[in-house]
């Protein structure tokens, strides 16, 4: 008897997993598979448009993650996403249960590139502007009491119109407070997200999250954003002030990090604008150079004025 090849097994598995969505959606190819489920391209036959359909894979339906049943987690992810109406967060169109009992939800199909793929050819300023757009979306989520907890370049997409979209809110956690200012220091409280269990991606996950600490707050996302920033600009190539921003955002101790994503974004924006960065104590020489770079035309005009004055003195023989 012939042995099954890996490719054949994968095709069989895909056929078994392919969701039966009934009349409304026609499911096409698999777009991706993650810890929380599989995402397919599908066509909404009622509205005549392509969408992304996320469904729990059968193995996740059987098991659980951090003690939480997979089905409940996916339903929860859909509710969290639906509560975050923001241009930087992908919109949920529909949610329901498949004929086989697995939950699914339908969201906008994002056509574009992953952040890390897109920015390879881009200048540093453009990379930082994209980073600020990510911060804007995450900050909005924090203002609604939601902590992402799995921010990384592969979870950020650049759409075909240049829009920046934060994806994969599967391990997001609702914090106790809804006020953004009160979020820092307030431990996340939603029992559905597995306190005491490490959830996230190594390299982008802060130490307290990798240890499974329950006191994970918005500063976990600040850490992940700092790690993303390091990926985007390259810590070795970054100027000292920008390096200091990365170091502060990814500090081991959470109290040493920026207290909020807005504070991190403010420093990145300041650096982009040529202004002082709170994370970096610059020398007088660095301050003078920064002032010159920011106001070079004005400085040159004043120098020209003084040069004219000196020329007149010389001309008159004073």
């Amino acid at each position: 008897m012939r042995e099954l090849t890996d490719a054949a097994v994968a095709r069989l598995r895909d056929a078994v997993d392919r969701p039966d969505t009934g009349d409304r959606y026609t499911v096409h190819e698999l777009l991706g598979r993650g810890g929380m489920g599989a995402v397919y391209r599908a066509t909404d036959r009622t509205l005549g448009r392509d969408v992304a359909l996320k469904v729990l894979t059968p193995e996740l339906e059987q098991g659980d993650l951090a003690g939480v049943p997979g089905a409940r987690r996916l339903e929860r992810e859909a509710r969290v996403l639906a509560s975050l109406e923001h241009p930087g967060i992908v919109a949920v169109h529909d949610a329901g249960t498949l004929a086989d009992g697995r939950p699914f939800y339908v969201m906008r199909l994002v056509r574009g590139h992953r952040l890390d793929e897109q920015v390879r050819q881009e200048a540093r300023g453009q990379r930082l502007r994209r980073f600020l757009a990510v911060c804007d979306a995450v900050s909005f989520a924090h203002s609604k009491g939601v902590i992402h907890r799995d921010l990384k370049p592969s979870n950020v997409m650049i759409g075909e119109f240049g829009e920046v979209l934060v994806l994969d809110w599967g391990v997001a956690k609702r914090a106790a407070e809804t006020d953004a200012g009160a979020l820092a220091g307030a431990p996340a409280s939603d029992g559905d997200t597995g306190d005491g269990v490490a959830i996230g991606t190594p390299g982008f996950m802060p130490p307290e999250q990798s240890l499974g600490a329950s006191a994970v707050d918005v500063r976990a996302d600040v850490f992940a954003l700092g790690a993303i920033l390091r990926e985007l600009v390259g810590a070795d190539k970054a100027p000292p002030a920008l390096r200091a921003v990365i170091t502060k955002a990814t500090a081991i101790e959470m109290q040493d990090r920026y207290p909020s994503v807005d504070a991190l974004a403010a420093d990145v924006r300041a650096w982009l604008d040529g202004a002082a960065v709170s994370a970096y104590a610059e020398s007088p020489m660095e301050r003078a150079i920064r002032f010159y770079r920011r106001n070079s035309a004005l400085v040159l005009l004043l120098v020209a004025y003084l040069a004219v004055r000196l020329f007149i003195l010389w001309w008159r023989g004073v």
């Binding site: 035309a297 005009l301 004043l302 004055r309 004073v318």
Partner: protein, 121 residues
């Protein structure tokens, strides 16, 4: 800072500085320095206010610079044509060129750094 106020302050400060330089370029005018500084500051204030007013109406760096240059030259011209009352000597280019440059600088400052007034509701 809004553009007319920035123009007023920059014009005044640069006007004072411009007037004081007469002490170096023409030490013989030292007895009249108070009048020279006051006149230079006065024309700086008026020219600065006009340049700032222009910057508020026309949000264009090049136009602001040209307008500043012309205003600086126009306001410096009467003083440039005026002979020294004691020596009778004229300081045409010594007054006209720096005066025009001061106007240019104020034009640049108001366009680049002046805040646009909030839209009326």
């Amino acid at each position: 800072m809004n553009k007319p106020v920035l123009g007023l302050i920059a014009g005044g400060v640069l006007g004072v500085f411009d007037g004081l330089t007469a002490l170096v370029s023409a030490p013989e005018v030292a007895p009249q320095i108070a009048g020279i500084v006051a006149g230079s500051m006065g024309k700086g204030l008026v020219a600065g206010a006009l340049i700032g007013w222009f910057a508020r109406r026309v949000n264009n760096l090049s136009a602001g610079i040209v307008f500043g240059l012309v205003m600086g030259a126009l306001f410096a011209l009467p003083f440039a044509l005026m002979p020294d009352p004691t020596t009778g000597q004229k300081y045409f280019w010594e007054i006209l060129i720096p005066g025009s440059l001061v106007g240019l600088i104020v034009g640049y400052l108001t366009q680049r750094y002046g805040q646009v007034a909030a839209a009326k509701r």
